[in-house]
Amino acid sequence: MRDDSARWDPAAGLDREAFQTPAVTLKILRPNRQTLISGPYPAALQCANVETATGWPEAALGDHYAVRLRRDRILVINGDALSDGWHAAKGVAVSDMTGGYAMLALGGPKAFDLLRRGTEITPDAASKSVLRGFHGYPVMLYSHGAGQFRLHIPSAMVDGFWSLLADLARQLE
């Protein structure tokens, strides 16, 4: 039996300083709530009390908004608390996922160059879903205003993902 504690740098989770280089800035955001809503798209929007759910490349704005994950699933950032479970009347399923995803803000002049290192993405290739594979990590990626991006990553992966972004950022010239 081996003790591999030393082999892995201690996990910092969400408690970490912002990462800053001339090329990019990266920091952790802590939304009050993240809520997963599954069901027919209109029903999901109505339940979330939002007009639309953001995809790519359009930008999400403000603090309370929804992003589109699947044909029949959205993630609501902030907004009202909803009870978990099956909402028969609306025909939607709701789960609190506030602690399930770490939320990162990426900015800086080379932010998009950094993103291109992890996934084949262009500003014009539209996609309804913000979910994509990023260097093997399952992320949500969307714009939050010009040159500003937000990423959500399963919270158990944030340590690895953060250090990957830091490694990739070092390659930017």
Binding site: L69, E120, S127, P138
Partner: protein, 88 residues
């Protein structure tokens, strides 16, 4: 690196997709008797054509299962449609 069109997300590169099965198979009603041959045909036998084929794929990020018609030699995508019924 191929690009496949997820019926929901649009074009993404092949790393986001997983091959599920050949299209066109229906799971037999297993509450009835099924001969060993029929079951083996269902579970194991495939057409595996050289050229045009229809397959079920999943776009892993958005978990969309869909039918993709493609050419297994030319590596071209001919057509895609969702496996489930379309909803907005």
């Amino acid at each position: 690196m191929q690009k496949f069109p997820c019926p929901f997300c649009g074009l993404r590169d092949e790393r986001e997709f997983r091959f599920a099965a050949e299209a066109g198979k229906r799971r037999p009603d297993t509450t009835r008797d099924i001969s060993a041959r029929d079951w083996s045909d269902h579970l194991h036998v495939v057409r595996n054509p050289l050229g045009a084929t229809r397959e079920i794929w999943v776009h892993m990020p958005c978990q969309e299962y869909f039918v993709m018609a493609r050419d297994t030699a030319a590596m071209t995508v001919l057509d895609v449609e969702p496996l489930r019924k379309e909803t907005v």
